[in-house]
Each structure stands twice: as C-alpha cells, then as structure tokens.
C-alpha cells in the first residue's frame, strides 16, 4: 500500500519548492532547491514499491516480504550530493552578500547593454560611404576624410534620440572584469 500522506507531503514540497525557486532572493532560491531535492528523495522512495522488511538476509523470510533497498541507496547518494551543493551555494550567497550587501540575483550588465542597443548601428548598417580610390590623394588625406565622416556621424548620433552608445558611454567604459560592484 502506498502511503498517501507521504505522497501529499511530496506534492506540497514540490509546489512550495517551485514557488520559492522563482523568487529573486538567493536564500529563498536555495530553500526552494532544498525542498525540491527532498521532494525528489521521497519520490524515489516511492519508486521502490511496497513497504516491507529491512533488507537483512534471513533464510526464513520469503523474498517478497523484503523492501527493495536500491532506492534507499540512490536516495543516500542524492542526499550527500545535495548536501555538498547546498553548502557551496551558501558560500556563494554569503560571498554575494559581502560584495553587494544584497541577497538578490543580479542582472547581467552586458546582457542589458546588448538588449538596449538600438536596431540601427551606424558602423554595421549604414549605407556604404563612397570611398575615395586608394590611388587618389595620400594616406593622410584619406585618414582625415575618414575622421571627418566619423565626427559627423557622432554629431548626428548625438542629436538623434535612441542612439544608445552615445548616451551611455560610461557603460562601455566599465570593464566586465572589474565588475559592476567594484568601485
């Protein structure tokens, strides 16, 4: 007979675990993971079938009276693994709190920067400018013409709204490696 109470506990653990996992606070996410892990352990326990005797061999006991010990071994391994992962995550959460004084999952700055790029990129999408032949004029003159075009592009980009790179130059200056929390 399957234990209905244990099944209900498993369902509640999964539900609460998933709810907590979707929170933005890291500690709640960790609690969610722990609940889901335990729910999964109960789940595997059910995979072993009917309850029965402990798997200690006794010649007088018929084979079908024993409980299947394999799921218990699986659960034991899973518990050890989830224990170590929990410890590691606690370390990470503490480190995150030390660095930012916040317990939140941080957004990826580079991701946001890419997402806010305008559709139009002057370098990639502009109509190809008429290049003077490389046989005309000296290299210095062509370079000067290029710089002139570049200045004009920048000036027009500053006037036109939505040109993200110009408005948020400071974001580009920050190096990923130094991190958004360092100052």
């Amino acid at each position: 007979m399957i234990d209905a109470a244990l099944l209900i506990v498993m369902g509640v653990l999964y539900a609460v675990g998933v709810y907590l996992l979707l929170e933005k606070s890291l500690t709640k996410v960790l609690l969610g993971i722990m609940l889901i892990t335990n729910a999964t352990n109960i789940f595997i326990l059910h995979a072993g079938g009917m309850p029965g005797l402990a798997a200690l061999y006794d010649p007088d006991t018929p084979a079908e009276d024993y409980l299947d010990p394999l799921p218990q071994a699986l659960i034991l391994t899973a518990i050890v693994i989830s224990f170590s992962v929990t410890a590691l995550m606690l370390g990470m959460i503490y480190r995150s709190w030390v660095l930012s004084k916040k317990d939140d999952i941080q957004d990826d700055a580079e991701d946001r920067r890419v997402a806010q790029q305008p559709d139009y990129d002057p370098e990639d999408d502009d109509a190809a400018p008429v290049e003077p032949s490389e046989f005309e004029g000296s290299e210095e003159q062509r370079e000067e013409a290029y710089q002139e075009r570049k200045r004009a592009e920048r000036a027009s980009a500053e006037e036109s709204p939505g040109s993200y790179r110009m408005q948020h130059e400071h974001l580009n200056r920050g190096d990923r490696d130094r991190g958004e929390w360092d100052s």
Binding site: V29, I33, G48, M92, D108, E110, N172, R176, D177
Partner: protein, 546 residues
C-alpha cells in the same frame, strides 16, 4: 586481462591525483607536474582504448566483479572511447594554458591550490559520464563534473563570477533534479537502472509511459547540452570565468549533454521516436543561437552563442535517426570540442594582449600580434565551415545524411544548417574585421593599451605601469602578455583542429563503426547482460511496481 579492464583508470587516476594534489597545496610546482603527468597517462591509456575499440563491438567492464544488471558496469564502445580521447586532448592543452597563465601572473589572486585538484575532478566526472553503463552512475558522473564546474566558475569569487556562478549553479541543480526524477520514474517503471537492462525492458511499457520517460530525460539532458529553449543560462555564465575555464567548459560540458542525448535516443528509447520535436529543436537552436551571436559586442559572449547554435548541428544529426546521420554527429562532436575550445583559448590571449574581449574596445590586433591573427583565423574558418577544414567535412556529412533520408524535415534542417553556417562565418568575420583590421583610433572605445605608441609610431607597445588604466589592470606587476606556454598550447590545439582534416578519412570510418554499434542496441544489451539477457533476469526481487 584485456586493455579494456584498465578503462576505469580513466576515472580513478584523475580522482586519486586530485586527492594527492590537495595534500600538496603548499607545493604548486609538484601539483602542476603530477596533474600534467596524470592527464598524459590517462590520454595514453584512452588512446590505447581507442585503437583497441577499432572494429570491435561495445565492451562492458563489471566493477567489483558483480555481474550486470545488479553490479555497476562501465561500457567502452567507439563513441565513448573517441569522446574520452578528444576530451583528454582538449583538457591537456587547457591545463598547459592555465599553468602558463598562473606562472605568468603570479599565483596571488587565483587560489591555484584549488584549481588543479578541481580541474582533475572535472575530468574524472567527464570520463565517468562517457563510460557509464548505468543510469545512476551517469547521474553521479554528471554531479562530479558539475560540482567541480561550480567551483571553477566561481574561482577567486569576484562579483561577476559569483553572479554568473549563482545562475549556473541553480540551473544545473534543477537539471540534475529532473534527471534524478527521471531515474526514479524509470526505476518505478522497469525496476532497474542499468542502461542495457532498461533498453531491454522499455519496449514492454505502454507507449505513453515510454514517451513520458523519454521526454523527462531529454529535458534534463537538453538543459545540460544547452539546446534552444533551455539554453538561456549559458551565455550569462560562461564568459565571466577565467579564460582556461571557459575554454574547457565550452568544449566539454555541453558535449557531455549531447552524448547523453545520443545514448537516450539510440540505446534507451530507439522505438519511441520524437524526431519531429528534435527537428524543431535543432532548427530553433541553430537560428536563435546564431542571431544572438550577431548582436553581441563581447567576443566571449559571441562565441558562447555560436556554441549554442552549433549544438543545433548535433541535434540535427540525432533527429535524422539514421546511421549516416549518427556518423556525422559523432564526427561533428569531436570536431566541435576541439575547435570551440581553441577559439576560446585564442580569445583569452586576445584579451590578455589587447586588454579587453569587447569588440568596441579592440582594434589593430593584426599589427600588434600577427600570431594571434593566424591563431584566430584558422579555427574561425574551421568553425564557419570553409572547405579544407573539418567543419566543412562535418557539415557535408550532415547534409549528405539528410539528402539520403529525403524527408521534408531533413531538407528543412539542411537548408537552415547551410544558412546558419553562413551566418556563423559572418559573425566570425565581423570579429575578424573589427578586432584585427581597423586602426586602434577607429575603435569606439579603444583600450589605452592599443593606443600607446613607441617612438616609431607602432601601436600597442606596453611598458608596465605607464598609464593609469594599465597599472589598475595589472596592479603594477610586470606580467608577460603572451607567455610561451599559453601560446604553445593554443598553437597545439589549433594544429590538432586543422589536422582533423588530414585524419578525416579514418575518423569518418571510425565514426561509421560507432554509428553502426549505436544503431543496433541489441549488441550493447547482449554485451552488458550476457547470461542475464532479456527474459533470463529474475524481475521479482527488483520489485517493479506498475
């Protein structure tokens, strides 16, 4: 005793060396040396396995002498031995690269005593996953490599790495939970966790149950392999790690997921087909991945998106579900591990030399470091599928297999695959133009290092501690920008990638054998179960509940 009995050493040796490494944390030189020796020995062993598995069927090794399905077995076949050798080659190159980086930078801000043992544990986990003949052992292999990867990804605990590490850890734990639940369900349904035994018993299940178990496993492995709807974690977490760590992750970890998907499709559930689903997953992974790559400004992020996109090629071959398709997949996986890792290693060098991995800040590298230009160009063309290289050969193999199958799904995937290979080339050429060919002052926000000139007007000369930006970045230390060991290991791996073309014939022949073995799961089942083959096993004491 055959050479195959030594296969468990591929797992045990790195683990033992890792333990030894922990005790030697005060002696970094000894640590480096024994780590290097361990990987070389493992590589030699795996190469012998590869040669021995030429022409043979799968070989199973019962651990502790307990016969399957009750004991745990390791199985060596062509697919797993090829994956083992390629992963060891890649990890050897990355280890030399990381050692070079550690030696050049001084060891003060990277806890190097943690790096070597963790790296070896990662390798042990990867080898375990490739050799596992038991679903729960596969789970343990995944956990070993994932736990090591959590540590490597968050090494030295800077803010961006912790942020990336949290995302990565949470997503990986969820995928592991799904995998564990699938194992629970499979055990409830068939009463065993031995893969051969599962394969023998699954056909007796009702089709709905088969489909559910199949999809559970695919979702769990799909997260690890980063196929499209489940891939969003990857570009957020990989780029922030140290260069060698990103390189080895990009090469190996997603491929372990692909390997598990191949086993699921060919061994566990060959009858319950979800090819239409996989077709759409392959197409979406290919297209969405490469579109993501096109918008990025950071080279490491660009390469991460390309990595996702190219997982689509492997799913394409798996979705074809023909021996030809599987042959192309095996070849493509081997090619992609090497090429993707070498590209990430090159980008690590570009970042070191040019001060940044962002295209807006880089320029003029062709003149500053021509060697990096060559090192970038060769694997980039390879990945883009330009003819003499193995990327082209792998894609031709996939297209041939599709045309041979001839369904509209196969043609759709082939069309999308060709289109995506063009877009890959475009993405890589965009990096090439911006980073290598324009003048430093043409960059949007050129790095001060690139603008510095010597008296002759040559760009990119760096004398340490001269400008503010540099002394901040290097904290006043005199570091070598391109140490010989980092450059040497990168050249080595790029050369291996280029040499894949030369050995393409034998490699394809080998992949064909692997595909033949994969398409006939009965051989695998017979080899593992032996006397306990279907019907003979006594199910009563496994107590399956149905």
């Amino acid at each position: 005793m055959s050479i195959f009995d030594l296969a468990p050493a591929a797992i045990i040796l790195p683990l033992l060396t890792a333990g030894l490494n922990f005790t030697l944390y005060r002696r970094p030189t000894v640590q480096r040396l024994i780590s290097l020796i361990a990987i070389i020995v493992v590589l030699a062993l795996e190469s012998t396995l590869l040669i021995a598995s030429w022409g043979s069927g799968p070989v199973s090794i019962s651990l502790g002498g307990w016969a399957a399905p009750f004991g745990i077995v390791l199985v060596v076949d062509q697919l797993s031995s090829l994956m083992l050798v390629v992963s060891s080659v890649v990890s050897l190159a990355v280890l030399v690269y990381a050692t070079g980086q550690g030696l050049a930078d001084g060891d003060d801000d990277a806890p190097i005593s943690v790096f070597y043992p963790t790296y070896l544990v990662l390798l042990a986990g990867v080898s375990n996953a490739f050799l596992a003949g038991d679903l729960f052992n596969l789970y343990v292999g995944f956990e070993i490599l994932l736990t090591a990867s959590y540590v490597l990804l968050t090494m030295s605990g800077t803010a961006p790495r912790i942020r990336a590490g949290v995302t990565y850890t949470v997503v990986s734990v969820i995928s592991s939970m799904l995998f564990l639940m699938s194992i629970g369900m499979i055990y409830a349904a068939v009463g065993t966790v031995n893969m051969a035994d599962i394969a023998a018993k699954v056909p007796d299940l009702p089709p709905g149950t088969q489909l559910q178990l199949h999809l559970m496993l695919l979702v769990a492995f799909g997260i690890k392999a980063a196929v499209f709807p489940l891939s969003l974690w990857l570009p957020d977490s990989y780029p922030t790690a140290p260069a060698p760590v990103t390189a080895v992750f990009a090469g190996l970890l997603t491929k372990v997921g692909v390997y598990a998907i191949i086993r699921t499709e060919t061994l566990l559930f060959p009858d319950s087909r979800v090819d239409d689903l996989l077709t759409w997953v392959a197409i979406l992974t290919l297209v969405v991945g490469i579109l993501g790559a096109l918008t990025q400004g950071d080279i490491k992020r660009t390469l991460s998106f390309i990595l996702i996109s190219h997982i689509g090629y492997m799913i394409w071959g798996i979705a074809l579900a023909t021996p030809q398709g599987m042959m192309a997949v095996v070849f493509y996986v081997a090619h992609h591990i090497v090429i993707q890792t070498s590209l990430f290693m090159v980008v690590g060098l570009i970042e070191r030399r040019g001060g940044s991995a962002n295209m807006d800040r880089l320029a003029g590298m062709a003149k500053i470091a021509p060697i990096l230009g060559i090192l970038y160009f060769v694997p980039a063309m390879n990945l883009g599928g330009i003819p003499p290289f193995s990327g082209f050969i792998g894609k031709v193999g996939l297209i041939e297999a599709s045309v041979e199958l001839g369904t509209w799904q196969a043609y759709a995937m082939a069309g999308v695959g060709v289109f995506v290979s063009l877009l890959t080339l475009m993405t890589l050429a965009r990096i090439w133009n911006r980073v290598f060919w324009r003048k430093p002052e043409h960059a949007e926000f050129p790095d001060p290092i690139l603008l510095a000139t010597d008296e002759d007007g040559n760009y990119g000369i760096r004398t340490s501690g001269e400008s503010d930006a540099e002394s901040r970045r290097y904290r006043g230390r005199d570091v070598k920008l391109l140490p010989a060991s980092m450059l040497g290991s990168t050249i080595g791996l790029v050369a291996v990638g280029a040499a894949l073309t030369l050995v393409a014939g034998p490699l394809f022949a080998f992949s064909e054998q692997a595909a033949e073995n994969l398409s006939d799961p009965d051989v695998y089942i017979q080899e593992v179960l032996g006397d306990n083959a279907p019907g003979a096993a006594d199910d009563a004491e496994n107590g399956g509940q149905e």
